[in-house]
Amino acid sequence: MSSTSGSATADKPKSEDSSVPQRPSEALSKDECLELFRLLYLARYFDVRLIKEKKRGRLRGTLYSSHNQEAVLVGSLFGLQANDWISPIHRDMPAFFLKDIRAGWRNPERKGMSIEEVCCQVWGKVGSPGRARDNWSHIGKRDAKIIHSTSMLAGTIPVAAGVVLADKLNGGNSVVLTFNGEGSTAQGIFHEAINFAAVHKLPVITIVENNQWAYGTPTELEYSLPDFARRADGYGIPGLIADGQDVFDVYDKVMQAVEYARAGNGPSIVECKTFRAYGHGDHDDDRAVRYREPDQVEKGRERDPIAVCRKKLIEKGYLKGEAAKKFFAEGKNAAEVTDEDFPPEVVEYLKEGIEFALKSPVPDEAEGAMWVFKENA
C-alpha cells in the first residue's frame, strides 16, 4: 500500500486564462465601477419587466423575483474568468446573461448566455438553450459553462464539484460558483457535496444568498447559527460573510474565495446577507404579507443595492452632478418604476431580447418525445 491519500489532484493547475486580473474592488477602474452600477440596473430591469409581463398574463410558470438581491449576482459574477462555471437557481434568472458579460453585452463570442436565449427560455420558445423543455431557471449550456439545475434544491452542488473535478484532471484551473438560498442548505446533498469537495480540495464556491426567508419559513427554523457562514467551520473550510446589498463587498469576498480556490486550496462558503423583497414567487406576493412583519420587510429593503452602489460611486467621485441624479429605480416596486428610471441602453438591451423571443416559434409538439436517449449510430 503505497499511499492512503487518493486526492484527485493532477499536475499543478496552469493559469491558462488570466484575462481577468484578480483585483480587489479598490483597484477596479472607474469604468468597471460604473459598469457594475449599470449591471445592477440591468438585473433589476429584467426582473421588473418580467413582473410586468407576468402580471399581464403573458408568461407561464412562476417568477422568483431577484429584486433587492441583484448585488449578489452582479458582484459574484463580475470577476469570474470565461472558463469558470456557475450554477444559478430559481431566484437567479439574471445570472444566466450576467455570466461573462464583461466580454461585451452584445459580443456574440462571449462565453455566457445571450439575453435572447434567456428571453426565449422565459417565453417558452425554441431559441431557449433547452428548447423550452424545462422551465425558467432550469436552463444551462455546457459551452457557456452554465450548469443546469433541477428543481431539487442544492442538487446542483455535487454536479458542480464533478465539473471542476474534470477540469482539474485535465490540468485546468477553473472554479465553480454555485448559488443557493439559505434554506436549501438543509438538504442532505449540500452536505455530501461540500464534504466531498473539501476532502478533495475542489474549487467549489458556495454562494449562499441569505435572504432570511425560505418560502414562508424564517431562518431560525432552517438552521441554528448566528451567521450562516459558520456552517463552513464544520467542514474546515473558509466561511466568508458579505454584505449582500453592497456589490463591491460581494465582489471582494467572492474574489477572495475564487483566488483561494484557484490556488488549489479548495472550497469555501460565501454568505451574502440580503433580503427577499416580495413573496417567494409571484403567486405568493399576497400571502407573504401575512407571514412577514411589515417592519421586517421595510428594514430588509432599506438598503437597495442600487442605492448603496450609487452612494459609493458618488463618494469615489465616479458619479457626480447630473449623472448622479439620473435614473432612480432604487427603492421602487415594479409597479412604480417606469422605463425612465433605467438607463436607456438597459431598456434597449432587454427589449431586443424580448422581441427576439416573441418572434421565435414554440417547439413542435413531437419534440416532447425526443432526446430521451442519445441515439447511437
Binding site: 407561464r60 410558470g61 417558452g124 428548447r131 423550452a132 423543455r133 424545462d134 422551465n135 432550469h138 433541477t150 428543481s151 431539487m152 434544491l153 434554506g183 436549501s184 438543509a186 438538504q187 442532505g188 446533498i189 425560505a214 418560502y215 414562508g216 419559513t217 424564517p218 427554523l221 432552517e222 438552521y223 400571502r287 407571514y291 414554440v362 417547439p363 413542435d364 409538439e365 413531437a366 419534440e367 416532447g368 418525445a369 430521451v372
Partner: protein
Amino acid sequence: MSATVTEAPIALKKNYLSALKEALFEEMAGNADMICMGEDIGLLGGAFGVTEGLQKEFGAHRVMDMPISEAAIIGASVGAALNGKTVMAEMQFIDFISCGFDQIVNMMATYHYRTAGEVNLPIVVRGPAGAYGGGALYHSQMNEAWFCHSPGLKVVCPSTPYDAKGMMKAALRDGNPVLFYEIKELYRKREIEEELPVDDYIVPLGKAAIRREGKDVTFVSYGQNVYHCLEAATQLAEEGITAEVIDIRSLVPLDEETIVNSIAKTNRVVVVNEAPMTCGFAGELVARISDSAFEYLDAPPVRVTRMDTPVPWAKPLETYVLPSVDKIVTAAKRVVKF
C-alpha cells in the same frame, strides 16, 4: 362528482382542497397524538394552503415548519410514529419525495415487517401531484409506482372532494404508512365541488368506485385521468359505445374484484394513467387483469399512459406526451373493434 348546479346553498359545496383541509382539522382535533410536519405548512399554511390555519389552531408544536429536508421529515415522522404519534408529513410537491426516498422505502415501508409487527407506523405522507398544469419535469410527477413496488406502503389517490376527505381520514387512522397523492389540478376545480356529509365518515382504502356504467369497454383509472375517461365515455356514447369508468382510488391495496366484475361484463379494458409507461401502475393493472380476467378478454388490455419521457414544460410538448381524451377514445375504439 355531480357538476349540476343545485338549489343547495353554495357554502356547503366544498372543493377538493377544502375537503382535505377539513379532514386534517378534524383528525387533529380528534387525536391529541397527531402531529404534522412539513415545509412551510405552519406560518404560511402550505404552498397550496392545504394546512392553512392549522398551526394557529393547534400550535407550532403540533404543526411544525420543517427545514427543507425531505429525508429528515420522513425519518422524524417514523421516529415520532414509532413512539406513539400519528403523523401527517407533507411533501411540498410529491416530486421532492425522491429526496427522502431511502427513508421511505427502506426505513418506513419495512418497519412493521422488520419488527415482526411490534412497531406499526401511522403516517400519511401526502403531497400535490400530477401533470397537465405546465409544472414541467419536477412539478408534474406521478411517481406512485416506485412506492407500489415497495412492500409495506399503502398508496392512494382520490379524485373527488368526498373521497379526498374520507380517504384522508381513513389513511390517518389506518395504522400503516400511506402515500397520499393529491391531484393539485383538482384542488380548486369548481366543476367537481360537492357537498360533504356533516358527520364524520371515512372512505375505506382498497375499494374502487364505478363512476359511470357501461357495457362495451371498461376504463380503469385514477386521479385526473378519471375525468379524461369520463369525457371519453361521453364522446363514445355519441357513437353508440358505452364505457364503464372505474376509479380505483386505492392502488395498494387494490380492489381487483370491481375491475374483474366489470371486465366480465364488457370483455374489453383500457387502463389509463399519467405516469411513464414502463413499470408504471398501468402495466401492473394489465398484468393483474391478464391473470384474473384472461378468459373474459376479447381484446388485449390496452394502456394509455404518458410516453416514456419526463413531463416537458412547453405546452404542446406536455400535451403530446400525456394521456388525453382523444388518446383514450382512440384506444377504446381499437379494443372495441378488435
